[in-house]
Amino acid sequence: MLFRQAGIFHADYSADRALFPIPADRWMIGILLLLALAAPIYMNTLYLSSYLLPWLIWTAGALGLNLILGWAGQFHLGYAAVMGIGAYAAVHATRAGIPWEIAIVLAGITASVIGSVFAFAALRVKGLYLALSTLALQFVMDWTISHVPAISGGTQATLQAPDIRLLGRAVTSDAGLYYVALVWCVLVTSFMLNLRRTALGRALVAVREKDYAAAVIGVNSFYFKLVAFATSSFIGGVSGAILIGTFYHAVTPEQFSVDVSIQALAMVIVGGLGSIIGSYFGAAFILLMPGVMNSFISWATTKFGFSLGIETLAHLPQAFYGALIIGFLLIEPLGLGKIYNNIRDYLLVWPFGYTKK
């Protein structure tokens, strides 16, 4: 990552407004995209379908949550419920014979409509009260999903998701499923990248900083809160649908419980509020952490010759994960994204200490 620039200089506005103003960044993105496209060739299917695939989908989901949290500044503790709505909508739609491409759009729209209910809470209250009402809404959605047999197929039930079909052809190979996730993740990412440059993005940031003040300068804060919730719910709903279609292949209410909401929140916080690259880091961190923890523990138990009970093993990653959230908030509240940016800003002009960013 040697940029060797003495600052960023632009000769015209279009260069200034480019997504990636620095050539090295453009190269890096290109190479990463190529690597992602070629992943099925050089990567074994275990890693591909059990690490890379969920990571991409969760990143897309986390980006959707980041839109609400980082851009619009509205607390959302019910994001998993929104994803769940999308997932159930898509499964029911495909089971009813609707093509999958249309089913996921339907899933997004359903999630978006129901998710906008959260926006009506956000119209009246904010901060703590918004957090609590979204949490309560999560409980209501959980309850509805698991207690209405028409949705969940009965309590404690698992609903099998049909294989996904694109343009009439069934997609069942690991590589195919992976590409579906990749396309979705890239789509969401480029949407979020471009959001920064639009009036919508700027209005959201204005609402985040102070909604009354934004209203005073002519930003209709309720409208933009509604748009933010609807958009983020759309992304969440489709992500949920794709998660079920490509990864879980079956849907149960527990996949979208409160804990999952908190997990999504942790991805955003650990990654960094409002940071796109941070959502990638955050999702990776939260997804990989339990696995890494487990292998670390088993390594440590054999190395130091002690043994842990099953209960302990089951809950230790969770405790570590709580500690992680606490640690991030204390040490770097802006998360991994900020750490990455600090390193990048340093390397950008290295070895020169001065810079124009």
Binding site: F139, H315, Q318
Partner: protein, 295 residues
């Protein structure tokens, strides 16, 4: 459904509600003295119950001694939480503070599970199971005992917030900077509120464990506590008490009416609905203070 059994549900609901108030009181205590919403109160309650068991079972102390030791331990844990986790966040946006208490919630809950495991264990306070009749109504003794303790705690805290220390804590929650300017040690005040809240959590933990045993479900009292605290107004001790009774009664009646219709588990639904309705209709609760925001 006949009138007697409905009244019975209401009466026992009111008693249970008072025990919810105890959890809510912990949240109110912290909010009233530092404006921090504590989402870790449920886990603190659970942790406290495990600490009591640890003293009683492993160290073999009699149950009342174990409870006293646990109160001291939790007091110290409360101080430690403030010192480690919250002091550096003073003045940060609410989203960070909420996330911190959520992180604490996960950490304390999973930490207790890691140490003590997830199987339900009994806690016996020696309250008899003999039926207790109030007129024609059958009352659960454990709930009645819990309700009495709650009311006593309530009395204590009402007096406390009128005392000099209590006034200082209320001053802190009003304005940190102004509190510093008149020589109040804000950090110590906030730490004290966390410690007291941890003590309340211990008492709530003991009472609830005597009813339902010690396991992870104690942490889920958070939802009840939050609902009651918000319904009563987040900074009103008396509000927490009344809202607890209200929620308990509504829950008791609603579950006896709705459970047969919805196939059980309507209690949580009632909670969530109460919480949402309160926030949408009257966000500052029944007795909470009204805050004014200016640009």
């Amino acid at each position: 459904m006949d009138a007697i059994s409905l009244m019975e549900s209401a009466a026992n609901g009111a008693l249970i509600g008072l025990m919810y108030s105890l959890v809510a009181m912990g949240i109110v205590l912290i909010y009233k003295s530092s404006s921090v919403p504590n989402l870790a109160q449920g886990s603190m309650t659970m942790l406290a119950a495990y600490v009591v068991l640890a003293f009683a079972n492993s160290a073999g102390a009699p149950i009342w001694a174990a409870i006293s030791l646990a109160i001291i331990t939790m007091f110290i844990i409360g101080l430690a939480i403030e010192r480690v986790a919250l002091r550096r966040l003073a003045g940060r946006p609410i989203i960070m503070i909420l996330m911190m208490t959520l992180g604490l919630e996960i950490f304390l809950r999973a930490g207790s599970m890691t140490i003590w495991g997830g199987t339900t264990r009994p806690m016996n306070l020696g309250i008899s199971d003999a039926p207790l009749f109030l007129g024609p109504l059958l009352i659960n003794r454990a709930y009645a005992f819990g309700a009495v303790v709650t009311i006593a705690m309530f009395g204590f805290f009402v007096m406390f917030f009128r005392s000099r220390v209590g006034v200082v804590l209320r001053a802190i929650s009003d304005d940190y900077t102004a509190a510093w300017s008149v020589g109040i040690s804000v950090e110590r005040g906030v730490a004290l509120s966390w410690a007291m809240s941890a003590v309340v959590a211990t008492i709530a933990g003991v009472l609830w464990s005597s009813v339902q045993g010690v396991d992870q479900s104690l942490a889920q009292l958070l939802l009840k506590g939050v609902t009651v605290a918000v319904l009563g107004g987040l900074d009103s001790i008396g509000g927490a008490l009344l809202a607890g009774v209200l929620l308990g009664v509504v829950e008791g009646i609603a579950s006896s009416v709705l459970d047969p219709l919805l196939g059980g588990a309507s209690r949580d639904l009632v909670d969530a609905a109460m919480l949402i309705l309160t926030i949408l209709i009257r966000p500052h609760g029944l007795f909470g203070r009204h805050d004014i925001e200016r640009v």
